[in-house]
């Protein structure tokens, strides 16, 4: 099958078929829980932070192929990054890392970015309280 025969890029399909980091983290340092106002999908992102560095990330997603692939990709991208660096990751960067998304599916990558931001916010709030 050529590229024109499929809705998504090879990379998207690869992450969709074998999503990395599916699941939950026990005692996470931050949890992001976001819903997609566009089509009603849901994503949860868990992070483990050690000395300001994200050492682990996992996700659970209810959504389309693009939502699953961007969730998988964003968890890959944040691992090993400092919290500040991770906050810089945009939905475009995630989509680009996946070899692009169809325009109508860009909002699914926004979901991934928001889940990440929300998990980091949760971490920052918790660490303030300590």
């Amino acid at each position: 099958m050529g590229d024109m025969d499929s809705l998504y890029s090879k990379k998207v399909m690869e992450h969709f078929k074998n999503p990395r980091n599916v699941g939950e983290i026990e005692n996470p340092d931050g949890i992001g829980h976001v819903g997609n106002p566009v089509c009603g999908d849901i994503m949860e992102l868990y992070i483990k932070v050690n000395n300001g560095t994200i050492v682990d990330a996992k996700f659970k997603t209810f959504g389309c192929g693009a939502a699953i692939a961007t969730s998988s990709m964003v968890t890959e991208m944040v691992k090993g990054k400092s919290v500040e660096e991770a906050l810089e990751i945009s939905n475009r960067a995630v989509a680009e890392a996946l070899g692009g998304l169809p325009p109508i599916k860009m909002h699914c990558s926004v979901l991934a970015e928001e889940a990440l931001k929300s998990a980091i916010d949760d971490y920052l709030n918790k660490s303030k309280g300590r």
Binding site: Y8, M13, H33, C39, F62, G63, C64, G65, I68, H107
Partner: protein, 388 residues
């Protein structure tokens, strides 16, 4: 990988016999049916032969059949044609909220042009209540249009009851029968319809051709203006190979419809039972018995339809879904919403439609693959832990 095609409601493969019948009309018998020399008259004869077959399939007279570019062409012709021909009588149309886009959008267009349109609700199974039709009628009503069976749910509507009401009131009744003609017996007299839309490629004919049945005496304005083809109702040089193919498909359907409906009903019920047995938290959508023989439509909780569809596609299995994620509007299907589905339940919907060449083995293969796909998607679903 062998492909398993389970989207016959979207389109059917063209029957080999149909292709064979069409071929000469591209090359040897290419004449314009309007030409008077024998080449042309040969094409004209072929069109008339096809018209007879299509008419026979629905119990009509051949002069009541007008060929169109397809189901959408027929729906547009019927709705706009009747509305504009009866403007002096009234401006009210009645249809249902689960019609095909061709009917919904044509009605909305008329709504913008000053017509009033009532979109009747449906119950949880997708059924229109004939009582609602009766109540909606006013002295300005000039058309009632209700589909024979819904393309997503397969629910078969009480057309004969509605037809009776329409004919008592003397209001033209249009039926979009794109999903039923060739698949279950359709008789325009028994159903008391004035107009009925059909499509070639839904019954193993070619794409790009359909027909509108127009009961003698029904007033409607021409759909295309130009030459006097199709008794000046639909101008334009006829799609001769397409029409010949449609005619052949109609001829085959007359012979095979009963047997095929029986066989597909058996496969359908086996399929539905298998899915509901093997996947917990799965539900049948649409009516359990008033249902097209080839339609299986289920909702699977906690998973999203497009991701199910993609996983099935990776296994070579072609299906469709009413999930918001799979539509260009990012809205769940209007049919599911009209049936009162929550966004979540609409999200997990999956339609599998069978056809002439669907086998037991193919269904067994899906029953083997689908539960695994669902389990895998559920393992990554954040909806699950709070609900089970």
């Amino acid at each position: 990988m062998k492909r398993i095609y389970l989207d016959y409601a979207a389109t059917t493969p063209t029957h080999p016999e149909v292709v064979k019948a069409m071929l000469p009309y591209f090359t040897d018998a290419f004449g314009n049916p309007s030409s008077l020399y024998s080449y042309g008259q040969e094409s004209k004869g072929a069109i008339e032969k096809a018209r007879v077959e299509v008419a026979k399939l629905i119990g009509a007279r051949d002069e009541e059949i007008v060929f169109t570019s397809g189901g959408t062409g027929a729906d547009n012709f019927a709705i706009k044609g009747v509305a504009f021909a009866n403007e002096n009588k009234g401006n009210h149309l009645i249809t249902s909220s689960i019609e095909h886009y061709a009917v919904i959008e044509a009605s909305k267009f008329l709504g913008k042009k000053g017509f009033k349109v009532t979109y009747l609700p449906v119950d949880e199974y997708g059924l229109v209540d004939p009582g609602d039709v009766k109540k909606a009628i006013t002295n300005k009503t000039i058309l009632i249009s209700v589909m024979h069976a819904n393309n997503e749910m397969g629910t078969i509507e009480p057309i004969a009851e509605i037809g009776k009401i329409a004919s008592e009131e003397g209001i033209p009744f249009h039926v979009d029968a794109v999903q039923t003609v060739g698949h279950i017996p359709v008789d325009v007299n028994g159903l008391e319809v004035n107009l009925l839309s059909m499509s070639g490629h839904k019954l193993y004919g070619p794409k790009g051709v359909g027909a509108l049945y127009i009961r003698k005496g029904t007033k409607l304005v021409p759909f295309m203006h130009g030459g006097d083809q199709e008794r000046s109702r639909r101008a334009g040089t006829e799609n001769v190979p397409g029409i010949v193919g449609f005619g052949k498909a109609a001829e085959i359907a007359q012979q095979e419809v009963d047997k095929e409906a029986e066989h597909l009903s058996y496969l359908r019920d086996k399929f539905i039972k298998g899915i509901l047995r093997q996947i917990d938290h799965a539900h049948l959508n649409g009516h359990p018995s008033r249902r097209l023989p080839n339609n299986v439509n289920v909702s699977v909780d906690f998973v999203e339809g497009e991701s199910m569809l993609l996983n099935l596609d990776l296994e070579g299995i072609c299906t469709s879904t009413g999930s918001a994620c799979s539509s260009s509007s990012l809205e769940p299907s209007h049919v599911l919403l009209a049936m009162g589905f929550s966004h979540e339940k609409a999200h997990g919907s999956l339609r599998l439609t069978l056809g002439k060449w669907t086998t037991d083995q193919e269904i067994e293969r899906v029953l083997e693959v689908l539960p695994k796909i669902v389990a895998n998607l559920r393992s990554m679903s954040p909806l699950l832990k709070s609900n089970i």
